[in-house]
């Protein structure tokens, strides 16, 4: 079904769905014949076909290869997505994750047969605790949002354990990522928003005014979603603790400070870490990630099951409350032992970088973002005065009266060979453009990006709105009709 000369677009070939390439009876997998046995299915054998298509291996490989060619990835383009930390995904991580001794082991093998795996989890935990300076960690959350939820659960449990069940209000900055209030609601908290100051930081006075003995805590992203370090963080922590609340830190932006700041000294009680951001594990088109959450001494007893302990007998898992001694785990939030395959990759990266490399990484990440901020401030409208941390925030004031929106600008950037920056987040500025280059970009790439963005800004101001509205034109697909997709959802192929 490739199109002919007029329709063929060079390297980008049209590729139908697998269901449209069905050859009944065909398979890309050879299997030995089942032995002839009397079945024990209790009469529950499936009757009728499932409806899956049959394809041979060459067709399947061609299918997925062509699909991949319609995607961009960090491997192919610069991906300055704010708060996503799109850094290089080392291939060593992939090689080590596939060692049979790490990949081909079952979670419930006798512990004596998986001491290396338990050691790996423990070592990964040790690195994360040492880097942050925090005494404890919950390794099981499967993603950042899951880590938030985990941290908030320990806060709720800690308050309940002291009989402080009236503490149901959680303070959340207006600039927070949507997962923050969603996670808070899932723990039975009501969300009370705090405004930002003109400097883009949390308004300390407004925060203090909202304190009371029904406050459970504060959720703060630091560096915050505007790419700025919350410079009043010690006062903020003191205020929250003084009011009897706990301080949850959203660690999505940890890449800015990983080797340079001791999180424990900021007064943080819990912080989730996105291994798929700061620690280079691949984004995989949307997952899987991992969100281990470091905990203070006050919250440590409530960490969920399971966790690894290390004594002179070796490594073992604590999987049941009865085995937890004085700890009072909030329960279990994930099946099995956490995202082990992601731990392998993250630890490989941590060991490769080492303490010195990680420190240099956060330095370079912040340097790169400030370079973008300084280089683009004349042509774009920076939302706040610098310096920024690892990401630079602009808004759409520079596009005023041009007829070009932030969305149009981003789509034009796609045509120039870049993945756009994060758009329309955070919500505290209008038409946000949030750029996070990370430390794995060369100066040449940054200069190329800067030149392109300046050029686009100048074209927008010169009145070329039409070309922006039509963008992108060089991609496998043009802008999609999202309205029809939502009004008339088609969520699967039908014959």
């Amino acid at each position: 079904m490739t199109e002919s000369f007029s329709g063929n677009r060079g390297m980008v070939i049209e590729e139908p769905l697998i269901f449209e390439q069905n050859t009944p009876g065909q398979s890309g997998v050879d299997l030995p014949d089942p032995a002839d046995v009397i079945d024990r299915l209790g009469g529950l054998e499936r009757k009728g076909a499932i409806g899956l298509p049959g394809l041979a291996e060459p067709t399947v490989v061609r299918h997925y290869t062509r699909l991949s060619q319609k995607n961009v990835g960090i491997d192919s383009v610069f991906y300055p997505l704010g708060s996503c930390t799109m850094k290089h995904n080392p291939r060593l991580n992939e090689k080590l994750a596939r060692l049979p001794g790490l990949a081909d082991i079952h979670p419930f093998q006798p512990e004596s047969t998986v001491q290396g795996a338990l050691e790996l989890i423990d070592t990964c935990a040790h690195w994360l605790k040492t880097l942050t300076g925090m005494p404890a960690i919950a390794m099981s959350p499967a993603a950042g949002a899951h880590g938030e939820f985990c941290g908030l659960m320990t806060i709720r449990a800690a308050h309940d354990a002291k009989g402080q069940t009236q503490r149901t209000r959680m303070l959340v900055p207006e600039s927070a990522h949507g997962t923050n209030p969603a996670s808070a609601a899932a723990c039975g908290f009501t969300v009370d928003p705090i405004p930002a100051t003109a400097r883009g930081r949390v308004d300390l006075a407004a925060l203090k005014a909202k304190l009371g003995d029904d406050v459970a805590g504060l959720m703060l992203t630091n560096p915050n979603t505007c790419g700025l370090f919350e410079d009043e963080i010690l006062e903020i922590a003191e205020a929250i603790h003084g009011a009897g609340g706990y301080f949850y830190c959203d660690g999505a932006n940890y890449n800015a400070i990983v080797g340079r700041v001791r999180v424990a000294d900021l007064g943080v009680d819990c912080m989730h870490i996105n291994l798929h951001k700061t620690f280079s594990t691949p984004h995989g088109g949307g997952g899987p990630g991992a969100g281990p959450t470091v905990l203070s001494k006050a919250l440590a007893p409530f960490a969920p099951l399971p966790y690894v302990v290390h004594d002179d007998q070796g490594f073992r898992l604590v999987e049941h409350a009865a085995q937890a001694g004085d700890n009072r785990p909030v329960g279990r939030i994930k099946g099995y032992h956490g995202q082990f395959g992601v731990f392998v990759r993250a630890l490989a990266y941590m060991m490769s970088m080492g303490a010195d490399g990680l420190r240099q990484a956060s330095t370079d990440a912040v340097l790169n973002a400030n370079y973008l901020l300084a280089s683009l401030s004349a042509d774009l409208s920076a939302s706040f005065d610098g310096p920024c941390m690892h990401e630079a925030l602009f808004d759409d004031r520079f596009l005023k009266d041009t007829g070009v929106s932030t969305l149009d600008f981003a789509k034009a950037l796609i045509d120039e060979g870049f993945h756009p920056m994060t758009m329309y987040f955070p919500l505290v500025v209008h038409g946000a453009l949030l750029m996070e280059p990370t430390e794995t970009e060369s100066r040449a790439t940054l200069d190329q990006f800067i030149g392109t963005v300046r050029g686009l800004a100048q074209r927008a101001k010169a009145g070329e709105a039409e070309s922006f509205k039509a963008a992108p034109i060089y991609t496998p697909r043009r802008r999609m009709d999202e309205t029809t997709a939502a009004r008339t959802p088609i969520l699967r192929w039908k014959a």
Binding site: E15, V60, V61, A322, G335, D356, R477
Partner: protein
């Protein structure tokens, strides 16, 4: 340092453009008390060779499934994954791409997720599926929350035949909401009376088929009772290959199906990452958590795909979202989908039949061992046996003989003495007749 492209010359030139003396000046907002002036007390950077040596050493302390006769299941299954799957998922455009928020440059991801959603709907017998969740345990918790939203009721009943991790994650996740989770006692003999417990305040009942103890059940009567009372039936499937041979939960009347997809396309990886499958009826679409990919057309009228119905999700609804979930299990979903595509109808059904025949052979061999009693007459590829001794001890003894003999129920239920002698065993297409014979022989010796 091989992952850091900047040179010292670069840094100096960039600092000049920024207008600061050194990089420390960029960290001026960090309180002095929290600054680290020197690298942390951890090893310094290492070459690939050195890191590989460390990891090889750790891996060497594990007994991998390929090195011993292997019979474990209990929610994580070992199947042969064709080489093409891993080769495809390692393409950089899949491995290193982000969530497909810019559809024009993510049609690869969006198309495979659309195909994945279709495959999941087909094998579960349900009308609509999402683009995956973290694992079956968390998907179970989400299903319970969804049932509470749909029925506007608060009581959720978890069957005693449900995987203990699915049970505890559901209970833990919902403990601070107004949903009441009732966990029935573990049910190795399949005798619990769920039908009798469903009433007008039940939001849903969650069961597993094949059950945690391996048993196959016809859920139609339970489905009918739930519907008569206005409750939803949620069915969990831990071994997705079973759907190639046994009647689907959709056929039996399920309203929501959750499953663990790891077994297709993905190695066991010591239990993580997993792949949560989630499917439901079209009428409940707007209450379904997680990402959804929908078909549409672009500005030139060509067919393509986008993330859709996002207004249910956290980045828009915030505290009123259907869930706080942000990532899915993307690359694991891709691996699942490629493996399913390679198998096709003929391969998937044959694989399922092959698994069942191996399990029947295993059951026959173990049934001949003195003192061993099969606990269920029907199963797919996993079943429970009752031993004359505590199963955990037996498993340890067999491990010393180089056989990975299954999972003792006491691993999950340490405070239930009546389960101490129950062992869960699984056979898949990766088990040979020699494996099965070795297991039976060794078991005989140890008992």
């Amino acid at each position: 340092m091989r992952y850091l492209p900047l040179t010292e010359a670069d840094r100096q030139a960039m600092l000049a453009v920024i207008g600061v003396k050194d990089t420390d000046a960029l960290f001026r907002d960090v309180p002095q008390a929290a600054r680290r002036d020197a690298p942390v007390d951890l090893p310094h950077h290492a070459s690939e060779m050195e890191v590989e040596a460390r990891f090889t050493a750790m891996a060497g302390k594990n007994l991998s499934a390929g090195c011993a006769p292997f019979f474990l299941g209990a929610g994580a299954y070992r199947h042969h994954v064709p080489a093409a799957v891993d080769a495809m998922i390692q393409r950089g455009e899949f491995l290193t791409s982000y969530t497909p928020y810019q559809p024009e440059v993510s049609q690869g991801t969006l198309q495979y997720l659309f195909e994945f959603q279709t495959q999941v709907g087909l094998i579960t017998g349900m009308e609509v599926a999402n683009a995956s969740m973290y694992d079956c345990a968390t998907a179970c918790a989400e299903a319970a929350a969804m049932a509470a939203r749909v029925t506007k009721r608060k009581k959720v009943i978890l069957s005693g035949d449900l995987h203990p991790h699915y049970r505890s994650v559901t209970a833990s996740t919902l403990q601070f909401t107004d949903v009441e989770v009732e966990c029935l006692e573990p049910d190795p003999m399949g005798i619990e009376d769920l039908i009798g417990r469903v009433n007008g305040s039940t939001a849903c009942v969650i069961v597993q088929n094949p059950s945690f103890f391996g048993r196959l059940k016809d859920l139609k009567a339970l489905a009918d009772e739930c519907h008569a009372e206005g409750a939803l039936l949620v069915v969990a499937v831990a071994e997705p290959v079973s759907l190639g041979l046994i009647a689907s939960p959709g056929e039996m009347g399920a309203d929501i199906v959750v499953a663990e997809g790891q077994a297709i396309g993905n190695a066991m990886n010591f239990g993580g990452p997993g792949l949560g499958l989630f499917a439901t009826r079209e009428k409940y679409l707007r209450q379904m958590p997680g990402r959804l990919v929908g078909q549409t057309a672009d500005a030139d009228g060509r067919r393509g795909w986008v993330l859709t119905l996002s207004t249910r999700e956290q980045h828009i609804r915030r505290e009123k979202a259907t869930s706080n979930i942000c990532t899915n299990s993307g690359l694991c979903a891709l691996a699942f989908s490629i493996h399913m595509t390679l198998l096709g109808e003929a391969g998937f059904t044959k694989l399922a039949r092959l698994n069942h025949s191996k399990a029947v052979q295993l059951a026959e061999a173990l049934g001949k061992v003195k003192g061993v009693k099969l606990l269920s007459q029907s199963f797919f590829n996993e079943f429970a046996v009752l031993l004359p001794k505590p199963a955990a001890e037996v498993v340890e003894a067999l491990a010393k003989r180089g056989i990975l003999a299954g999972v003792p129920a006491s691993r999950f239920y340490p405070s239930y003495p009546e389960l101490a002698e129950v062992l869960l065993v699984t056979a898949t297409e990766t088990n040979s007749e020699a494996d099965i014979a070795a297991f039976a022989t060794a078991l005989n010796e140890v008992l």
